[in-house]
């Protein structure tokens, strides 16, 4: 009975790649490209650079796949590589504050209407759609405005669903520190997006 490749663990796929199975590596890429990309994207906050770094991460994995000894999860190893590349990038680049990638484009106005204005302007259905879209942009912006150490913890948890213990291995700090950073990140997000709390509670 043929096994389902999707049932294979990350470590097994990498092992097969080390034995010459390129298809196993492709499965790994498909499995991790989206979360890795979002982690990198929210860290460097430039799409073009995120595209390059994503490729760099997987190229490194190709070249150094045999360096993975299996002492940790493969996801830990992958995100450690990605994080290191992002750190290298941030050291090279001068940080520039820029608009969020998902900031809504407004013609003529630097700042769009507030949530109250939109609520007052349109009907409920159109309003909700706009609010949702706006919320997403604001969330992305708020995440990007998090301090770096809080942001990476938040992204690893939120994007990859990584356990706090594993996050501690990736960032190299104690688990309690990871939890503290996560708490601060959530409190910041809450303060930054407080005006949308009623909307979010309704969604809940």
């Amino acid at each position: 009975m043929m096994e389902d490749p999707d049932d294979l663990s990350d470590e097994e796929l990498l092992r097969r790649f080390n034995e010459g199975d390129a298809d196993a590596f492709e499965r790994l890429v498909r499995r991790y490209e989206r979360p890795l990309y979002n982690f990198i994207l929210r860290s460097v906050r430039r799409r073009e650079r995120a595209d390059e770094l994503l490729q760099d991460v997987f190229m490194k994995v190709v070249q150094r796949s045999r360096d993975f000894k299996g002492n940790s999860k493969l996801s830990t190893w992958l995100y450690t590589i990605a994080r290191n590349l992002c750190i290298d990038h941030s050291r090279k680049m001068v940080f520039r504050r820029h608009k969020s990638l998902d900031a809504p484009s407004r013609s003529g106005d630097d700042e769009g209407p507030t949530l109250l204005e939109r609520q007052a302007a349109g009907g409920p259905e159109a309003d909700r759609a706009a609010i949702a879209k706006d919320l997403q942009a604001r969330i992305a912006e708020a995440v990007e405005e998090l301090p770096e150490e809080q942001r990476e913890v938040f992204l690893l948890r939120q994007v990859e669903g990584m356990a706090f213990k594993e996050i501690a291995s990736v960032v190299g700090v104690p688990e309690n520190t990871v939890k503290s950073r996560m708490r601060y990140a959530l409190e910041r997000l809450q303060r930054a997006l407080d005006e949308y709390k009623d909307y979010v509670r309704e969604l809940k």
């Binding site: 390129a22 999860k73 990140a185």
Partner: protein
């Protein structure tokens, strides 16, 4: 609260936390804020990655896989075998899993691991065992000079060691060690003549040859031992190289004024003497010591104190023995006393030899040396230094002179005559055979000199204090 929010608490802990949150307003507010932030964060939209990067990555991956494929999977049959179930243990990924599979499959893993561990342990043990055996902390050529500050007490190293009871096998000429009982002593006198008869060289060729024929044992000093070994080798016809001939000129300069110097042992002996064996440390005596080789070493004992019977002495040897008369016997008696730690009795015998050596005066230097040693061992350093001085001044070519210098220096040090001690040690340090010992004694002497100076200063201060008190009292009055 974070653990509760992300469901990392077990059920009991979660229930307890929730109960607390319901009862605590502040914690409840904090929980609300965190929940809201979590709600916002969970709504973070994920971007889709670009698709163009995949082509480049997979191209590189296929190239790498192609490089690895032949080495990783050489057996096509194995490749066609059904794929085993995915391993859940991440630690078995990689080369180890491949190696284990190569050994024989999953069933062999524990056994193979145990076998490899055992092989490793045995191998490591075999590897290190010779190293441990070879390692001998004493096997070092380093000459360690003791730090002066570490020295305490008199120089114990100058305590004369128990004379070595070395005997020479008459057949091989090699030194044979071992304990000889009292009952063997009388046989020595008898065997002396017997083994002398076996000597290849007739006695007439070398003066005092009787003592040359004496066994290579009873070497009181390393120098003496070496010389005795050389004579034993000579009797066997071995080629012996003359050690350190080039030291003759330099050695002459090392002697203090008034000390005699050998006229050149090699020349004095004539061509009959074969070259000596390669010099050891004990054999690197200067020429004046080598010259003393011609004068037989009376401190050596009879050769073959073996259990084998000895032939009767020949007539020339008997005459030779008679010529030394009582001096030889008294010398041996003195040695017996010395070995038995009866130093006063030993001193009397040696002194008798010195006073009445008989026609053959070859015993005198050694007797004088042992007299000095016996007096020193008996605690009479004053008499001992007189004997040492006589020995060094009258018998400068005596082969044991360097050792005598060090011993005399020890006596002078005990007597508080540190300058004399230093003079002798500095002279002795120029002799390669005893240089290391002399240096060590100089280090100890330096300690004694410092203590002497300190004591002198303290005494001077003590004397000055009453004088100052008197002066102060006089001023007051």
């Amino acid at each position: 609260m974070i653990e509760l929010l992300y469901e990392e608490l077990d059920e009991s802990e979660a229930n307890a936390t929730r109960a607390h949150l319901e009862g605590c307003e502040a914690c409840g507010d904090a929980w609300d804020r965190l929940s809201l932030g979590h709600a916002f964060g969970s709504r973070l939209a994920l971007e889709e990655p670009p698709t163009d990067f995949r082509a480049a990555v997979m191209r590189a991956a296929r190239e790498k896989a192609a490089e690895r494929a032949p080495a990783a999977d050489p057996d096509p049959v194995e490749r066609a075998a059904p794929v085993s179930a995915p391993r859940e243990d991440a630690d078995e990924a990689g080369l180890w899993a491949s190696f284990v599979r190569w050994v024989g499959g999953s069933a062999m893993r524990p056994q193979f691991a145990m076998a490899m561990t055992l092989v490793l342990m045995v191998g490591i043990g075999l590897w290190y065992l010779p190293e441990l055996r070879r390692h001998d902390p004493a096997d070092t050529h380093a000459i360690v000079d003791p730090a002066p500050g570490d020295e305490v007490g008199p120089s114990a190293s100058l305590e004369p060691a128990e004379p070595l009871e070395l005997r020479t096998d008459p057949h091989t000429g090699r030194i044979v060690t071992g304990d000889d009982g009292e009952e063997e002593r009388p046989r020595r006198v008898a065997t002396t003549e017997a083994t002398s008869a076996q000597a290849p060289r007739p006695e007439a060729e070398a003066p005092g040859a009787t003592h040359d024929d004496l066994a290579v044992d009873e070497a009181e000093t390393p120098t003496e031992m070496a010389q005795a070994e050389e004579r034993a080798a000579e009797r066997q016809g071995q080629v012996i190289e003359e050690p350190m001939l080039d030291m003759a000129e330099g050695a002459e300069a090392l002697l203090a004024q008034g000390e005699s110097y050998g006229s050149g042992s090699y020349g004095a002996e004539g061509s009959a003497r074969p070259p000596s064996p390669p010099p050891s440390q004990a054999r690197t005596a200067p020429a004046y010591a080598r010259e003393a080789q011609t004068a037989p070493m009376p401190s050596v004992r009879q050769p073959s104190v073996q259990q084998q019977p000895s032939p009767p002495p020949t007539a020339p040897q008997q005459r030779q023995q008679a010529s030394t008369g009582g001096a030889g016997e008294r010398y041996q008696l003195g040695m017996d006393h010395y070995r038995g730690r009866r130093y006063r009795a030993a001193a009397e015998e040696f002194e008798a030899v010195v006073r009445r050596p008989g026609p053959d005066r070859s015993l005198v230097p050694s007797a004088l040396h042992h007299l000095a040693r016996s007096l020193r061992e008996a605690g009479d350093c004053r008499a001992a230094v007189r004997s040492y001085d006589n020995l060094l001044s009258q018998h400068g070519s005596y082969r044991g002179a360097p050792d005598a210098m060090i011993e005399a220096a020890d006596c002078y040090r005990r007597l508080g005559q540190l300058s004399q001690a230093r003079r002798l040690l500095e002279r002795a340090s120029q002799n390669a055979g005893v240089a290391a010992r002399a240096q060590r004694e100089l280090s100890r002497l330096a300690v004694a000199e410092r203590e002497h100076r300190r004591a002198s200063q303290a005494g001077a201060a003590a004397e000055a204090a009453p004088a100052e008190a008197e002066a102060a009292a006089a001023d007051e009055n």
